[in-house]
Amino acid sequence: MSNLVGPYKMRPPILSVKVEDSMDIMIVRDTARRAAGLLGFTPANRAQLSTAAATLAELVLKTGEAHTIHLNGVVSGTKDGLQISSQAPWLAGVSANNVLLALKTKLGALVDEIILDGTPPTIVMIMWLSDARHRLLDDVGDDES
């Protein structure tokens, strides 16, 4: 609990997964999908959130040190959301703008908000339940990859 940060009020579910090896990436993905399901996200949104969480887990695993991915509900006014976060001490001293640009390029399509919060920095990603469906529909395009 003490490592949980972010600009929004937190609510259950509150889950954490320690990332120490590649198997843990799969567990993070699974945990994110379950947390998103508990909050009422659609299967498509669950796919987005679990991919965002797994990608963050891959990123922290590359640092060579064990880190924890936190998954928790958040509330802002009447909106509920799911927050995925992890402390990123290796980013201390790196330009926040550059980090955010890189994160948004890789993960921006999957979540509504990406924030660097606190000291040492914590990467925080949020998808809002009430906006999620509209956001995905706005993104519908013809790209292939």
Binding site: R33, A52, T55, K106, D139, V140, D142, D143, E144, S145
Partner: protein
């Protein structure tokens, strides 16, 4: 009568495993081994659900999903993509193609597939 699922999967081994999972929850399964066959099967005899691999010969799963979602005869059939391509770009490509879910083929895949079938109303 059990609902029918169209499984589009080129690997016979993986098709057999997924078929077993779907049959274990009481669904009937028809298999197409490539994209064009999958589209034809879906149009000629619309299933209750399409489970679609991404890596397919001739036409990939994203293209198959897009064609199904653009055809009035098949656009309302739920599509679940079940795939080894699990990155952000591939996930968004699957969802933008119109997939109702995008599930990586990992050790949790069967459980997530069944949960989504319940969510979509395919299973009670």
């Amino acid at each position: 009568m059990a609902l029918e699922v169209l499984l589009v999967e080129d690997s016979k081994t993986q098709a057999a495993q997924i078929k077993e999972t779907l049959e274990s929850v009481g669904l009937r399964v028809r298999i197409a081994y490539d994209g064009p066959d999958g589209i034809r099967e879906a149009i000629e005899n619309p299933p209750a659900l399409v489970v679609l691999d991404v890596k397919l010969p001739t036409m990939d799963g994203f293209q198959v999903c897009r064609r199904l979602k653009r055809n009035p005869a098949t656009q309302d059939i739920p599509v679940i993509m079940l795939t080894e391509k699990a990155g952000p770009k591939a996930t968004m490509s699957g969802l933008r193609a119109g997939a109702d879910d995008y599930i990586p083929k990992d050790i949790f895949a069967s459980e997530h597939l069944i949960n989504t079938l319940q969510e979509l109303g395919i299973l009670e």
